[in-house]
């Protein structure tokens, strides 16, 4: 992995299967990920898009690896902001690992080319921690965090 990326992990009291569904299915992502959802068949090589409530595509790419419920790799490029799109594709790896009664979720997100001071990495790294906290809250308490329930107005 290159230096210009990040690694986030969280431990969630759930099962790998439930966590996998929460990461991939619209009825879950909409709750803890500001109403966004993935549009894809989740097959290897399939096209992947991230959609927002007004029907626009914010990010797109393809499903690179899919091994339910352990590992998911997406090729991911922002389509929304020209300066982020210009940095090209990133690679986002989700790893799920059972540890006792918890599942360790690790997310590694990095650009394919090593861009110093990447705006893309800055943007996604600001987003992930709150999304992950909210995902944990949803799976452990049944409720996502207030801050991540709605797509921000006017964005």
């Amino acid at each position: 992995m290159n230096k210009n990326g990040f690694v986030y992990t969280t431990y969630i009291r759930t099962t790998p299967e439930k966590l996998w569904d929460a990461l991939t299915k619209p009825e879950f992502t909409r709750q803890y990920w500001s109403e966004v959802w993935h549009e894809t068949t989740w097959e290897r090589g399939a096209e992947w898009k991230m959609m927002i409530p007004d029907g626009r595509t914010t990010d797109s790419g393809e499903v690179v690896e899919v091994e339910r419920p352990r590992r998911l790799v997406l090729r991911w490029r922002n389509e929304f902001r020209p300066e982020l799109k210009a940095e090209g594709y990133s690679r986002c790896v989700f790893e799920l690992e059972q540890q006792g009664d918890m599942v360790k979720l690790t997310i590694v997100h990095e650009l394919e080319q090593d861009v110093a001071k990447s705006k893309f990495i800055e943007a996604v790294s600001n987003g992930w921690p709150i999304i992950l906290s909210s995902l944990k809250s949803l799976l452990e308490t049944g409720e996502a965090l207030e801050a991540t329930r709605k797509w921000p107005k006017g964005k």
């Binding site: 230096k3 990040f6 690694v7 992990t9 709150i130 906290s133 944990k136 709605k150």
Partner: protein, 125 residues
Amino acid sequence: MNEDAVFRALADPSRRQLLDRLFRENGQTLTELCRGLDMTRQAVSKHLALLEEANLVVTRKRGRDKLHYLNPVPIHEIGERWIGKYERAHLGLLSELKKNLEAKPRRNLGVNPTRNLGTKRSKGR
């Protein structure tokens, strides 16, 4: 996640300094992290182990190097647990007060200051 481990890890200024260094530049090796610090390599290594145990630092291999990455997720979880919750209760109380004050004038405003404290967030979105 062990909350005690996070608080313990954050209680030490040297460890907070290491987190700040990773915030400025993520993905550093032990050697890079030691540079310019007034600590022995052993001490830095020990601090990093504690930070890793608290899940505030995550390591990944790159070739023969072990790179250290800042993981702010536990800090968010603590923020949610210790700040968000209380804040929400106050905000709920304020919005109820506002609603009551803006409604038709009545003798009893009907605000019960303890009503929102300690209750769970409402379901539904």
